[in-house]
């Protein structure tokens, strides 16, 4: 095949554009990593590129800070949020996918997800305060459920849509009730979807600042709140902040990488049919 000059030029420009985009995406990560291994005395000096790497910042964060506790909090809060979301979201998503009369409900799920946190935080705050649950992990989990549940349910509709109807029909012929068919046949069939929705919900909860900022205390503080807290009157603790940021970011990147293919179906899947 003869490739015209015009074609080669456009391919070259396209590759260049992608290359630039990759650099723009990677540069902040590279910079934050370098900051994390700069000796603290050189932190925040843009002119210095050559230095003896120092693990002092990492050592400080891992052994002399609350960050490990913050990680545990973020992890378990996200985990519990996701489990509850799946338990409530999966049957509903299945119902939305299979039965008539829920067209409106589908979109009200999306509407719930889009509810600005600003409108929920005031009542949640006052409610949790009355229940004496401010500064507890239950409070944060409750708040995180408000945006994770709708996303998980929305996400799963697309996956249930793709399971052929014959599957449960056959199961019911075999003597299963409808619920048994859902529980024993359909759910296992969408296992990748459950994993993807769960991981996506986990990432959302892990990343939240707004609710956690207002609802957590010393013992329940999550990682994003801790990261925001490195901006103190002790001066810029740039190196330590860089370490905390990397700790927050790396697991999430690994997790998200594992679900990339499913994400497309999840976020867009049931929406694209719109």
């Amino acid at each position: 095949m003869i490739v015209s000059f015009e074609n080669r030029l456009s391919r070259f420009l396209g590759t260049t554009a992608i290359f630039i985009a990759i650099i723009l995406v990677l540069f902040p990560f590279l910079w934050i990593f370098l900051e994390s291994i700069k000796p603290p005395s050189l932190g925040g000096r843009p002119d210095i590129w050559r230095f003896e790497p120092s693990w002092e910042n990492w050592h400080e964060i891992v052994f002399n800070s609350n960050v490990p506790l913050n990680i545990l909090n973020s992890f378990f809060i996200a985990l519990i949020t996701v489990v509850i979301s799946l338990i409530c979201g999966a049957p509903a998503a299945y119902a939305f996918s299979r039965f008539r009369g829920f067209q409106g409900a589908r979109y009200s799920i999306l509407a719930a997800e889009m509810m600005p946190p600003a409108i929920l935080i005031l009542p949640l705050f006052l409610l949790l305060y009355k229940l004496e649950l401010i500064d507890s992990r239950v409070g944060v989990i409750t708040a995180h459920l408000t945006f994770v549940v709708p996303v998980v349910a929305w996400f799963l509709i697309g996956f249930f849509d793709e399971v052929p109807k014959d599957l449960e029909d056959q199961a019911m012929i075999d003597g299963y009730t409808r619920f048994q068919a859902f529980y024993k046949v359909i759910l296992p069939a969408v296992r990748p979807g459950l994993a993807a929705a769960g991981i996506f919900g986990f990432v959302l909860s892990w990343n939240d600042l707004f609710y956690s900022l207002l609802l957590t205390g010393a013992e329940s503080r999550t990682l994003p709140v801790a990261i925001a807290g490195f901006w103190t009157f002790r001066g810029i603790e740039l190196g330590k902040m860089a370490v905390a940021i990397l700790i927050a970011v790396i697991p999430v990147l690994i997790l998200s990488y594992s679900i990339q293919k499913h994400l497309i179906r999840g976020i867009g899947g049931s929406g694209v049919k719109y």
């Binding site: 005395s41 925040g44 378990f76 809060i77 985990l79 519990i80 305060y129 004496e132 649950l133 401010i134 500064d135 507890s136 992990r137 239950v138 409070g139 989990i141 900022l213 207002l214 205390g217 010393a218 013992e219 329940s220 709140v225 925001a228 807290g229 901006w231 103190t232 009157f233 002790r234 001066g235 810029i236």
Partner: protein, 413 residues
């Protein structure tokens, strides 16, 4: 397998419900602190307290400034306090006292032997008095002073400016060849308010007159803001319209700016060997702000009205702020609040040298608090936003100050 799942679930639920808003048990006090260098010192000293008072366990909850206000609030609204001891930023004093969050300390203070309440710098102690009752005792001050590069002033034969006009001309003359006269902090809100108010004082202005009327848009305020803007445009580093504490400090410590108005206790940090200023350490000196009337910041110790351990709380506060411990705290680098500490030769010698403490005493003498009265936090944010709008040219000086005055009228109701 099922059992395992169940017990995991129960464990997870139990873990999740553990809340820190638990009230301190008898013999235990919870204290909310801001993560600043002075907190590190208090935490170290507290080991001594625990030794002397084995019956009292002290739990600190240190956090960034931004998180503190609503934490104190939720603790105070609850039937029993999470925090028995709180530290109170000076703008919060009236608001919290009026809301009934704070325990009056008058009788505790007067019945405490050897406490020497009168030894606290009066300007500081007075901040915690609301409607005739004492709601807090000073913890540390953050009065503003003028920090200068003495070596530059000496080499050019410049005197330390005493008036705001002198200061303006000096910093303009210092702005040459990549060096700037003044690292300023015009960041919206708290920062610019804290800095500009020194200029307001130098012009004889105030937020309120004696009758309580808002006078933040009078001629003195207009002059002060015009001077501030002129200086920022002529003597401050370029692109500094959003600068706060970090940037200004970095600019001075790296030798790019010759002066800044900042917390008096930044001086020792700037002069520390192998510290942030590198080779410039030792060249910084501290003086009264131009005009002579400094903006005063104060953190004070208070006891929450809904605490169930008030006696233990007071035992701790009266210990940490007692003359002896106050002296130790100052020697370890804490910001002093007692006259006896600032006048102590032992502190001069083991601390940062006589010059620093006498400069600080001068600053505190005749200083005035950043803001007082009800809802001062809101007031500062509103005025600070308008000031920033004026500095960045989004509003004229008059427009900005009129809007500030309107906002203040509403905020203090």
């Amino acid at each position: 397998m099922k059992k395992l799942k169940l017990s995991t679930a129960i464990a997870a639920i139990a873990w999740a419900t553990i809340s820190t808003s638990q009230v301190a048990h008898a013999g235990e006090i919870n204290i909310i602190m801001e993560e600043v260098p002075d907190y590190d010192i208090v935490a170290k000293l507290t080991d001594q307290f625990t030794e002397q008072n084995p019956g009292i366990t002290v739990n600190f909850d240190a956090m960034p400034f931004d998180a503190m206000r609503d934490k104190i609030l939720t603790s105070s609204l609850a039937p029993s306090a999470t925090y028995d001891v709180i530290i109170i930023d000076n703008p919060w004093t009236d608001e919290f006292a009026r809301a009934g969050f704070l325990e009056p300390l008058d009788s505790l203070i007067s019945s405490q032997d050897g406490y020497a309440y009168d030894d606290f710098v009066p300007a500081l102690a007075d901040i915690s008095k609301v409607d005739g009752s004492i709601y807090g005792v000073p913890y540390y001050n953050y009065a503003l002073g003028l920090i200068v590069r003495q070596d530059i002033f000496d080499s050019k034969g410049l005197a330390i400016p005493k008036t705001i006009e002198d200061y303006m001309s000096v910093v303009k003359s210092l702005t040459t060849n990549g060096m700037y006269g003044a690292a300023m902090q015009p960041q919206k809100g708290y920062k610019i308010m804290e800095e500009w108010k020194n200029w307001l004082y130098a012009n004889g202005g105030e937020l309120f007159d004696d009758a309580g009327n808002v006078i933040i848009n009078n001629q003195a305020a207009i002059d002060a803001l015009n001077q501030y803007i002129e200086t920022h445009s002529q003597a401050a580093p370029p692109n500094s319209a959003n600068w706060g504490f970090d940037e200004a400090l970095r600019s001075v410590s790296s030798g790019k700016a010759a002066t800044m108005l900042s917390y008096n206790w930044m001086l020792p940090a700037l002069n520390a060997k192998d510290g942030m200023s590198g080779d410039l350490a030792g060249n910084f000196t501290l003086h009264e702000v131009p005009g002579g009337k400094s903006v005063l910041g104060l953190w004070s110790w208070g006891i929450t009205a809904n605490s169930e351990n008030k006696d233990d709380a007071w035992t701790f506060i009266s210990w940490i702020s007692s003359p002896e411990v106050a002296k130790q705290r100052a020697i370890m680098g804490g910001a002093p609040v007692r006259n006896s500490v600032m006048n102590s030769p032992e502190v001069w010698e083991k601390g940062y040298g006589k010059a620093y403490y006498t400069a600080l005493a001068d600053i505190l003498d005749g200083s005035a608090p950043l803001s007082s009265g009800n809802n001062a936090e809101e007031l500062i944010e509103i005025v600070g936003t308008e000031l920033s709008a004026a500095v960045t040219g989004q509003k004229s000086v008059k427009e900005a100050l009129d809007a500030a005055a309107n906002g203040v009228e509403r905020a203090i109701k």
